[in-house]
Amino acid sequence: MTRNILAPLTLGLVLLFLIGPFIIIVAASFSAGETLAFPPQGFSFKWIAKVFTVESFRQSFGTSLFLAIGGTLAALILGIPAAYAMSRYRLPGAETVRFMVSLPIVVPGIVVGLALLRYFVIPAGVPILLALFLAHTALILPYAVRVVSASLANLRSDMEEAAVILGASRIGAFVRVVLPNIRGGILAAFILGFVTSFNQVPVSLFLSGPGVRTLPIDMLGYMEIVFDPSIAALSSLLAFLSIGIVLLAERFLGFSRYV
């Protein structure tokens, strides 16, 4: 009997803890006051409106969007074949490949950012944007491989073997048999990679230069200067955008099965 009360109570408290800050941010976005406060002082759209007038946000939003989309696509281009090789081929050294590819999860982002700055950007003259792109691609790679591997594991391999035996080329079999069946997994990996890249701070901390900054770094910089609720407003807008994308994906593709 006690369990019946205890379980929902625990869950309720945990959700309050997790979602509380989210509610405060959303509430502050519509505040009429000059600082972040809860309960908010009055109601207005002025901070939401202000977000669109800050020029650096537009620029860094573009940079972040490019990194999230480009980085995730690149990670998928690298990750899907690797996941396929590891699940369908007898691959000596598969463990090494798996280890290499999952390194970005265990190596702290701030270290990676600093290392790229010290050894790519400064001595080799690699442009900051390219360094950011490489770092974000590498960061997303483990998620891409993991999620795609999971969906490949759920797909029986005799289908494509049959296709090959029946005369299809290996690539043809992959494109026509495998790809359509792991579509959902790829989309899940894309969304996961996109969100990871878009909110990434530590890697990008050292990788900013004149005119090149990711949105979270720009927000951090903005907040170091101005302490008004426009950051809350921007965060809420971005959150609702992400939630919208996830809900659409869920609705049309049953996204949650893959995460």
């Binding site: 600082t35 940079t63 490019f66 480009g70 390219l130 792109f133 004149p210 200067i225 101005v226």
Partner: protein, 342 residues
């Protein structure tokens, strides 16, 4: 093969994104403090871009961080011109990162207050603004007549103090030392006094903007700040005052420097000259951002009350000479870390 595809598509995208910036031929890369960028954009950057038909690329951050970047990029400078603190300018000068400024190309140079003309005496920096550093405090909760008042037992737990690594840190410690009757440049006495109260003091702040939030939440009642961050406090619906301690106010000056090896020297000088012009300096002062270093600037009393204004004010500030600050910086940091840091 995949690697090449990725790289080349990345390059293509990169160029696509950067294309807009490269469409115009001349670009000037400047490195500035991050605050009030919207206002600078209106008053300074946009009008200058129109005037010169060039494109400004702006890097922002605090003085120390941007100096570290300049040092890292020494071999292939990215930035053409930077604005930093006098102490950092002296460090940059000693490290061979900056060049002598040809002041004959600056038509507005003669209009500057004397103290702004060549603050480090090496011909490599020109002051564009100076500021007072004193204490912002809740007039209803406390009375501040001395820098030492901040450490009174009933006040200390409502105080934010600038970290040693900020521009405000050493000057504030220097004034505290003065209040304690200890003016040795090693700052040992004031650091020890702060260390005594380190558990009471709310935070050793790095970014002054955070203080506005902390003040509004009544987390703090007082903090030493530079006058340039006063405006957002004035907007709060709280009884806040600017202390005039009996030991006086301290402060600092920010200067313009030219990166050694910078490619767009003439354009950088044009930009500096424009920034120092009476027109731009007046507008920036009226927006309550930077105090003017140009003596021709006249502002209303309302504005003058909110910024550090006039040569007399500037002369009365108790400043730490850049050379003293630079020569002692490592020792201060070590002392601070040993006493206050843990």
């Amino acid at each position: 093969m995949k690697w090449h595809t990725v790289l080349s598509s990345a390059m293509a995208l990169t160029l696509g994104v950067g294309g807009a910036a490269q469409a115009q031929e001349k670009t000037l890369t400047i490195s500035v403090y991050a605050f009030a960028q919207d206002e600078y954009n209106q008053i300074l950057y946009k009008p200058f871009e129109e005037k010169c038909g060039c494109k400004l690329v702006v890097e922002t951050g605090n003085s120390v961080e941007r100096l570290a970047k300049m040092e890292a990029n020494k071999a292939a400078p990215v930035v053409d011109m930077a604005v930093i603190s006098t102490t950092d300018a002296l460090q940059a000068s000693r490290a061979g990162l900056i060049d002598t400024i040809d002041t004959s190309k600056l038509s507005n140079y003669g209009k500057l207050y004397d103290i702004a003309k060549d603050p480090n005496g090496d011909g490599k920096s020109v002051g564009y603004t100076f500021y007072a550093t004193s204490i912002v405090y809740r007039t209803d909760k406390m009375k501040i007549t001395s820098w030492a008042d901040l450490l009174k037992p009933e006040y200390a737990s409502h105080v934010a103090w600038p970290n040693i690594t900020t521009n405000q840190g050493p000057p504030a410690l220097f004034m505290l030392g003065t209040a304690l009757g200890q003016t040795a440049p090693d700052l040992k006495a004031p650091i020890a006094a702060i260390a005594d109260k380190k558990d009471d003091i709310v935070t050793f702040y790095v970014k002054s903007s955070q203080l506005v939030q902390l003040m509004q939440q009544e987390e703090i009642w007082a903090a030493p700040i530079g006058r340039f961050s006063w405006a957002p406090f004035a907007k709060l619906d709280l009884p806040l005052g600017w202390a005039t301690p009996k030991e006086g106010q301290t402060g600092g000056m920010n200067v313009m420097v030219l990166t050694k090896g910078g490619k767009n020297r003439d354009l950088a000088l044009q930009f500096m000259d424009y920034w120092l012009s009476t027109e731009v300096q007046t507008k920036i002062a009226e927006a309550m951002i930077d105090s003017p270093a140009n003596a021709e600037v006249k502002v209303s009393d309302a504005v003058a009350n909110n910024i550090t204004y006039g040569e007399d004010t500037a002369k009365n500030l108790k400043l730490i000479p850049a050379a003293v600050a630079l020569d002692n910086r490592d020792a201060w940091l070590a002392e601070w870390n040993a006493k206050v840091g843990q």
